[in-house]
Structures are given as C-alpha cells and as structure tokens.
C-alpha cells in the first residue's frame, strides 16, 4: 500500500512501519470482521493477529463465533464486513491463493469414510497438485507419523474417533500448510487421544507452522497456545499471553486433602500464615474435605507442598484445578458465559 503525495506518504510509511512492529509478520490478520446470520451476529467486529510461527488460542463458549471465524478464514463463508488476510492473501479477493497456504481440521473429521486412510490422503495430495508418486510418498509418511500405518488400508469408517481425528489432521497437513486452523481439535475425544493430538500439534509448531486453535478448554489453551484471545457473542473480550490472562483470572487452585479431615483448619492456617511468595490465602471446603489455595506458578505449588511436608501434615491427595471457562469469563466480564457451558473443568492430578 502506498500513498503517493508528499508529506502524506511519509505519514503512511511511518504508520505502516509501526503496524509492522506491532505485529511482526502476522500470518493471520483480522480487522473488524462481521458476519450475520439473520439477526444474530456470529462475528461482531473481531480483530486479531497471529504472528508467524506462533499458536493463537481462541477461547470461547459454544456459539461465541469460533467456528464462524475459522470458516471465514478458510474461505468457506464470506464475511459481511471487515478484512481478513492469511499468509498475505485476502479471504475475499484472493481465495484461490489463500487455499494453497492453509490446512483445516474441524470439530467433525472431514475425511471420506468409505475411502481408506491411504486413499483419503492420496486424494488430497492429488487435489493439491502433487505428482502421483509424491502423493503416495507423502500419504505413507503422514500415516506413519500419525501411527495409522496399520490401519492404512482400512476404510475410515472402521476407525475410532481418535484415529479419524488423526487422519483428519494428517489430511490437513498434506500440502505442508503455513497456517493451520484447528477448530476444537479435541472436543469429544478421550484423554489419551487428546494427548496424542496435542503432541502432534506441538510437533507441528516446532516445525514452524502458525496455528489458530479454537477451544472451549482452558487446559487445552494452556497446553498449546502462546497467546489467547477470548471471544464471546462474536466479540473479543480479552486477550494476551496465557500468563497474563491466568494472573488476571487467578491462575489455578491447589486442592489439598489431608488424610485426617480434622486437620483442615490447622492446615489452612499453616498455609495462610507461612508468608510464601505470592500465596495469599487458603480456604477450607469442609464438605469436600479440602483446602483450596489459589496459586499462579509451579514454584508456589512446590513451596506449599514443601511447607506441608516440613510441618508433618499427612496428605491424602494434592491436585491442581484450572479455572473453568466459566470462571475465566466471570473474572473477565463479571458474567457467566452465554451458553452456561462448564465443560472446561479439568483436573490435573499431581499426587495421590
């Protein structure tokens, strides 16, 4: 973009340089994106940037507009207003070029159920203009990588949910996309399969892919994303690095269960009065037989557990509890999520 008139052009250049500094090589750049469905605004003026080689987590409840955003960015639907560029290509004016740089894995696996794993990947390879031999090689390589080699010849309809999702992920990677959209990649998966998908995403990022990930799970965002954008009712309501957001919403809750419930008040008192760095209080959950300690860092967790060991408390279990999506929303907006979804409750066992 250039403005060719005297002083004005200097201003425009400076402005452009400033924008570049703010968003170094944004692989995805979204400005004022609006999409209506009748009278409902699925997207109501979204702005976001995903710098090259990073993972942006888009967190929001059901119906927040996450999937609509991904569909606009993958040229499946057209926005009503605003602009979106991916890999430098505009979604409206350069869809053909844009489709060459993206890969999409949706919530519902988009593979042909009647075709085998190999046939599915070979088909995508051919549609991406790979020569026959190369398409075969790439299909085999990705099946190997996603541990699907044994099932390669079976029709996808015989695959388990996790296998299908992995095949879908493989299909979206055939063309080595520079930008990958993962739309709720682990919704509906069991924890083991979820971990497999996460591991693959980590690998992709290590190889330099830019990822836009939508999720309802705080834990998933924490595992995968560098930065978070929280959206609700089609608007961005918060954003920033995970740590910033976690500090804002109070991080995690450390739940301590003493072996003897009679110890609850003494244990809470010990934690509260120890003056550990950043640990400000402890509450007793009498019914649950727990002491809840808000913490932000792993160091604080270690310090609390260390303190209790030193004081000779006998513990039945120690676990950390990430804030649920509802709690994040409550902290950010003072309101519950619009869908009242509380799936985001995740427990991480650290000791038993």
């Amino acid at each position: 973009m250039s403005v060719g008139v005297g002083r004005l052009s200097v201003g425009a250049d400076t402005l452009a340089r400033m924008q570049r500094q703010q968003t170094p090589h944004a692989a995805v750049q979204v400005r004022g994106l609006v999409k209506h469905y009748g009278s409902t605004k699925a997207l109501d003026g979204i702005d976001l940037d995903v710098p090259e080689g990073t993972v942006l987590g888009v967190l929001g409840p059901n119906g927040a507009g996450k999937t609509t955003l991904v569909r606009v960015l993958s040229t499946l639907i057209k926005p009503d207003a605003g602009t979106a560029r991916v890999g430098g290509y505009d979604v409206l004016t350069q869809p053909r070029q844009l489709r060459r740089v993206i890969g999409l894995t949706g919530q519902y696996a988009s593979v042909d159920e009647k075709l085998s794993g190999t046939e599915n990947l070979y088909l995508i390879g051919r549609l991406l203009d790979l020569p026959r031999k190369e398409a075969r090689r790439r299909a085999a390589e990705l099946l190997e990588r996603f541990s699907l080699t044994e099932a390669a010849k079976r029709p996808a309809m015989t695959y388990s949910g996790g296998m299908r999702r992995r095949l879908d992920l493989a299909a979206s990677m055939i063309g080595r996309p520079a930008v990958l959209y993962l739309d709720e990649p682990t919704t509906g998966l069991d924890p083991r399969t979820r971990n497999e998908v996460w591991a693959e995403v980590h690998n992709l990022v290590r190889e330099g892919a830019t990822v836009l990930l939508t999720t309802q799970y705080m834990e998933e965002a924490e595992q995968l994303a560098d930065e978070l954008t929280v959206i609700d009712r089609g608007r961005v309501i918060a954003g920033g690095r995970i740590e910033e957001l976690k500090t804002k919403v109070g991080g995690r809750t450390l739940q301590i269960r003493p072996a003897d419930p009679a110890e609850l008040p003494r244990l809470a008192g010990a934690v509260a009065q120890a003056g550990l760095d950043g640990v400000s209080g402890a509450t007793v959950d009498q019914d649950g037989g727990l002491v809840n300690v808000p913490i932000v860092t792993d160091q604080q967790l270690t310090a609390v557990v260390g303190l209790l060991a030193e004081r000779g408390f006998v513990l039945a279990s120690v676990s950390t509890h990430l804030p649920s999506l509802d709690e994040v929303f409550l902290a950010i907006t003072g309101q519950k999520t619009s869908s009242g979804d509380s799936h985001a409750e995740e427990l991480q066992e650290v000791a038993a």
Binding site: S110, L130, R176
Partner: protein, 269 residues
C-alpha cells in the same frame, strides 16, 4: 516451512485445463473407490435391468403379444433402456445430497480446486454407471431373445441417446439433491416425478389403446419419446420425430436446469 513440493501455481492462483482434468480424475477415482468399497451401490445398475426385464417379459409378454413373447422383448427392452437412465439419475440426487451433508465437502472447499470439479466428477462416474446398466439391459434382452433388426450403429445410437437423456435428467436430480433437506426427501420427490413419467408412457405398452387425454401427455412425455426413439433405432422404422424430440428434451433440460444446479452448487459450496 518448505512449500517446495507443491507445484507452483500461476501467481494469481488460476488453474489451467490440465489442473482441472487432474482434479476431476482424482475426484472421479474417489467416487469409483466408494463404489468398490460399497458394492451394494451397484445393485441398481446390475440387478434392476435384470429383474425388470425378466419380470415384465414374463408377466406382460404373453398377454400383450399372445404366442409371440419374443416380439414383446423387442418392444420392451428399448423402453427399459430409457427407464434405466431415469433410475440412475435419481440416485445421483441422493448421492449429491449425502455428499453435502458430510464434512469431507468442507475439506474439498478449502482446497485450491474449482468447486465444480466435485460435481463434474460425480456426473462422469454416474454416466459410466449408466453405460454399464444399459449394456446389462441389452445383454439381458439378447438372452431373452432380443433381435436387433438394424445394425450396431443404430444400436449404439440408441444407447447414446439413452445416456444423453439420462445425463440431462441428472441435472434435475442434482438440483433436487442440493435443494432438499435429506437424501430421503430427494427420493420421495424423485418418485413423484418418476412414476407418472415411467408408467404414463409407451415403455410397457403401446399408447394406442390409451384415452385421448392420457395420450396428450404421453405424446410429450420425454421418456415415451426416448422409448419410441430407441425402439425405432433397434427395430427399424420411422425414428426422426422421436429422436429429435429426445434431443430437444435433452438439450432443453440441460440448458435450463444445469445452470440452476451449478448456481445452487456454488451457493452451497
């Protein structure tokens, strides 16, 4: 990230004819593999011509042409060729509808291919299925005593005409398939079109004995025109009128409905 493997497209992402052909053949291969995976999908192609021919020849044959069942074979089989095209065209509608209700369509739509390639590939494979069905139909006829009184050229013309008209009908069902909410709805609507066209025609019985109001319909029923044309081409006799009528219907339907179907496809795709 290396993107070196991907064949460099033109700077504006425009695809050449060879790209389109490659995409269409890859997608047609997909449709063919689906059939291989699910051989029941060929029941209509293989069994329908066999069952219909046997059934009608032995149920009606004796009554229609007492003592000359062979003559009924020669009357019926060309008409059934017309019906076969219609039946397969109908299946295209539910196929297209099912395809669209699946996530794999989203995958295709995010790939740098022309969206119409998906539709064209489907039609290519279905025309292939139609050819197989018509060939089985003729084979069955020959087994029951069909006598080709003209030559191979006319026989091939009859086959070509049946498939041409069948392909033009496909557009109607593609449009239906893209419009209807479910594959079942497509079948329901298809039946509504199919039954009167099939039975109020000259396929099973000559129209001479039908009342005037019905003949007014059968005279312009494209399926009756096609049946008459195929019959003339196989048995000899005047065919100009019915052949022209069939060609007019085929071209007319395609010219009117195909753009609507493609527009609907683009809108959904």
């Amino acid at each position: 990230m290396s993107a070196a493997i991907i064949t460099a497209p033109a700077a504006d992402g425009r695809l050449g004819l060879r790209d389109h052909l490659r995409h269409i053949s890859a997608l047609a291969r997909r449709n063919a593999l689906q059939i291989k995976q699910n051989p029941e999908a060929m029941f209509d192609v293989v069994l329908m011509p066999v069952i219909f021919t046997l059934m009608f020849v032995y149920v009606f044959g004796g009554a229609m042409f007492p003592g000359h069942r062979d003559d009924y074979v020669n009357y019926l089989v060309p008409g059934l060729m017309a019906m076969t095209g219609l039946n397969i065209a109908m299946a295209v509608g539910s196929g297209v509808n099912e395809d669209f209700s699946k996530g794999v369509m989203d995958r295709f739509r995010t790939l740098p291919i022309a969206r119409s390639s998906v539709l064209i590939a489907k039609i290519v494979v279905e025309v292939g299925r139609m050819l197989v069905a018509v060939a089985i139909q003729i084979g069955m006829g020959l087994a029951l005593g069909l006598d080709i009184k003209t030559s191979v050229v006319e026989l091939l013309a009859a086959v070509g005409l049946s498939v041409l008209f069948g392909a033009s009908l496909m557009w109607i069902f593609v449009l239906l398939g893209l419009t209807a909410k479910s594959a079942q709805a497509v079948q329901g609507m298809g039946m509504l079109i199919m039954i009167p066209l099939q039975f109020a025609s000259s396929i099973f019985a000559p129209t001479k004995s039908m009342p005037g109001w019905l003949r007014a319909f059968t005279d312009y029923n494209p399926l009756a025109n096609l049946a008459d044309a195929a019959r003339g081409l196989i048995n000899g006799g005047a065919v100009a009128h019915s052949v022209w009528m069939t060609l007019a219907w085929s071209v007319g339907l395609t010219v009117v409905v195909a753009p609507l179907a493609v527009a609907k496809f683009r809108q959904r795709a």
